[in-house]
Assembly symmetry: C3
């Protein structure tokens, strides 16, 4: 497939500075792109690569400084334009209707004939799989699970009993939906055999709404009672922990290794960066932003931005962190000042 | 199944304030419970939901403030009572003896006839599976693995060669028992081909004792030599790392994303909260408590409570954290004080 | 198999203080070793166990203090010597050529006849598996994947489409190679249906070079464009996140739960300890050392050593942390000093 540079510019509402008739065959990184490929430049760290690139054209923001002779495609929200052009050249694989003989589908399950069930996946009793959904090898759907249309469940994804997955959901390999939440009641007597942790039944389930993507080996636990919910359009990275009864609001972004403890509710568009941790039972307002490695133990207002552990305003955190880095100096100054004051006190004595 | 409210109160040794003859059909969250269901209230954050609940009765602590007309079941350790009542209505699924034709059992393996082996699980040479144990799809037991009675190994659990799993153990999906520990010796010569990390054979194994539960995608590595051990009744959440030769004592609680480095020994009932990290070769006393995101690099006495990274007493940590949040102010005060003292020094000069 | 103590000493270039003719049957931990086994001592924490050990001989560093009568094998780099002797007694399992009837190999895939494909693994269209490579149950190789010679892919490993794995690579159970990187462009208009996160196609792949080992449930994401690369001889522990377009240099060591964000490049022999996190687009010099739980947001020079979050020099960090632990005292001193100065000011007034 090829598109002219002019066609690509029209597609994304941008303006091509180079040869509009250039036949473009694909997208490539700045360092690797050839004269028939388009590339993308935004992060200033990569200016040298941008200037040296052999790309046929480079997608840039409207105000980008461009060296003479470099063909560019100028467009507002260049990253989105790049994503759309890349999608044009790399459309997601469509389901090839298939029920592999080595797939195991319970006789009471309902699988849409347009779905693609690859070898070695399994669909439990009463479960259902919607149109054009792809189950890769090693995917296991428990009893009564419902998966909607146009989903991709990559290899070794597990969805436990009764959980619900919407439409256009992507689950990366090894991700686990519906494991038991972590709940025990301390039972000191233990029926006469000494203390034990008595398991609290985790009999709720998980709802993954439409257009959600969840990363490799991430976990969304089922509710103790009721529902753990990941709302429409939320995107979750790898190795993230979502505990029981959490609500991840629409359009949230959770980066890798984030952990959200039980019953915490995230509003719409909340962003949490890598390795941030939230305790349980919090309410996080819409569009709140939680920095990497933050440790959050209080509710957040809409739009609040926090960092650090314990988390505080990100501005305050940055100031404190700068002072912290001079803490040893500060103690030295304090000690010198003490001596000075002592001297002053001595001297005033008759 | 139904039980009267009076029967439930008797079961847990509590006292029902409402109609003892009420027919109870199940448990539900405060917001969703109807007049034939019981619910649970303890966390003050949910008082409004408690007061508005339509539940037939609500399980509460003996000293809970209860609005007029709200039927409750008062009981010491309300959470345990709730767990027991919930278990009554939601007993764990019993094994349905089965050896699915799509399960692969080595001819030298020994599987109890009462066990349930679902499709697409495998049992390696010389491995054994005890009575009433359930292996979900995608569970793989390596050579010589022994799994006891009444266990549930959820989908895609891996237990590598020679590891031992006791009775009544629950392994959530994707959990890995017996991966190689992380051990290499730096070999600068590398047989003449330059430096390399020479793999130290990890030839020990893992013992998971009775009544342990381990969360989704958690990892317990096999010992270099000897045994990595998770002792009876310990409970481990999702995405936790237990390195080689660690001992997790009886009744320990390890929350999600905790990491325990090699050869560290936890005593009985140690609790580590989310994302805490422990370096290797430590000895942690019974009932020690390690806060979320703590970074622990020293031994702990029994009952010691720590927080922060590097971890210190949790009381001290809380005080320091409060001061830290005012660090910028503190520096300003220090600077002003310096100026003041300089002025004093100036003035005293004749 | 047995070897004399003298033979073992010769093998590792060490010197045996005990009976060189002693028949050694294996290696064991200090506490468990019997008179025909050798053990290993280096960490001073275990001196008591060393002194009490019944081992036939103990491998020690040349300068180790040894109690009278304790037979030792003295050798430079005792840990490496131990590793080599342990490998002698525990050679890695060799592949037993096998294509299990329950394995699923696409007709267009190429599997070397010396490879071992255990039951319930799958090899996708156009994929290839090299000589003597072992695929455990539940391993799934996507379309066009290439795996080299002498690799071990443990149970439930996933390698997604087009990724490349070199020779002598070990992938522990549940590890995921080639999941989509985490990239979305905010699309406020969303084709008239409101804001959405538009998925940026992740159409690059992953290259795992020779002699790499990756731990259980770790994730290496495919590049957006181009390649995510783990270079020869790097060793990665469990539950580690390697984001899209990262380069992990040769001989790097990444401990458990480390997270490396997109496009960060690690040089040769970089070491990152447990739970450390690196933001994206960094350049980390050769042999840099990043402490456990560090949060790194800047480039590092070769050999630089950092700790803390935000990360600073590890020496500075240790000093600051010591002061931090006395922060409350420091504030008290500051307040007292203020009062003292105020008194001085008062007194000087006539």
């Amino acid at each position: 497939m090829t598109r002219t540079l002019g066609e690509l510019a029209a597609l994304v509402g941008g303006e091509a500075s180079g040869d509009a008739a250039l036949e473009v065959t694909g997208v490539a990184p700045l360092e690797e792109a050839g004269p028939s490929q388009v590339s993308f430049f935004s992060n200033k760290k990569y200016r040298a690569a941008f200037e040296a690139s052999r790309a046929g054209a480079v997608i840039v923001e409207p105000d980008a400084a461009v060296p003479a002779g470099r063909a560019v495609l100028r467009v507002a929200n260049a990253y989105l334009a790049f994503a759309r052009i890349s999608t044009l050249f790399h459309p997601p694989a469509a389901a090839v209707p298939e029920l592999a003989p080595q797939a195991v589908v319970h006789r009471s399950a309902v699988v849409d004939p347009s779905a693609q069930l690859m070898p070695l996946c399994s669909v439990g009793p009463g479960a259902s799989v919607g149109p054009r959904t792809i189950l890769h090898p090693g995917v296991h759907l428990g009893e009564g699970v419902r998966v909607g249309a146009d989903c991709v469940l990559h290899a070794n994804v597990v969805v436990r009993e009764r959980c619900v997955v919407g439409d256009r959901v992507i689950l990366q390999p090894g991700c686990v939906i519906g494991a038991d939440g972590f709940g025990y009641a301390l039972d000191l007597a233990g029926e006469g055999r000494g203390p034990r942790h008595y398991k609290v039944p985790q009999v709720g389930h998980v709802v993954i709404e439409d257009d959600v993507e969840i990363g490799a080996n991430s976990c969304v636990d089922r509710a103790t009672l009721g529902i753990t919910r990941v709302c429409r359009g939320a995107k979750i990275d790898n190795l993230v922990q979502i505990a029981h009864n959490v609500v991840v609001g629409p359009l949230c972004i959770l980066a890798s290794q984030v952990g959200i403890s039980g019953s915490t509710k995230l509003g719409m568009g909340v962003v949490a960066w890598g390795q941030a941790g939230l305790i349980g039972h919090l309410t996080i307002g819409d569009r709140a932003n939680i920095a990497a490695q933050a440790g959050l133990a209080r509710d957040l207002e809409p739009g609040e931005r926090v960092a650090g552990s314990p988390a505080t305003s990100d501005v305050r955190w940055a100031r404190n962190a700068a002072v912290y880095d001079r803490l040893t100096d500060m103690r030295r100054e304090l000690r010198e000042l003490k001596k000075q004051v002592e001297r002053l006190e001595q001297e005033k004595k008759p």
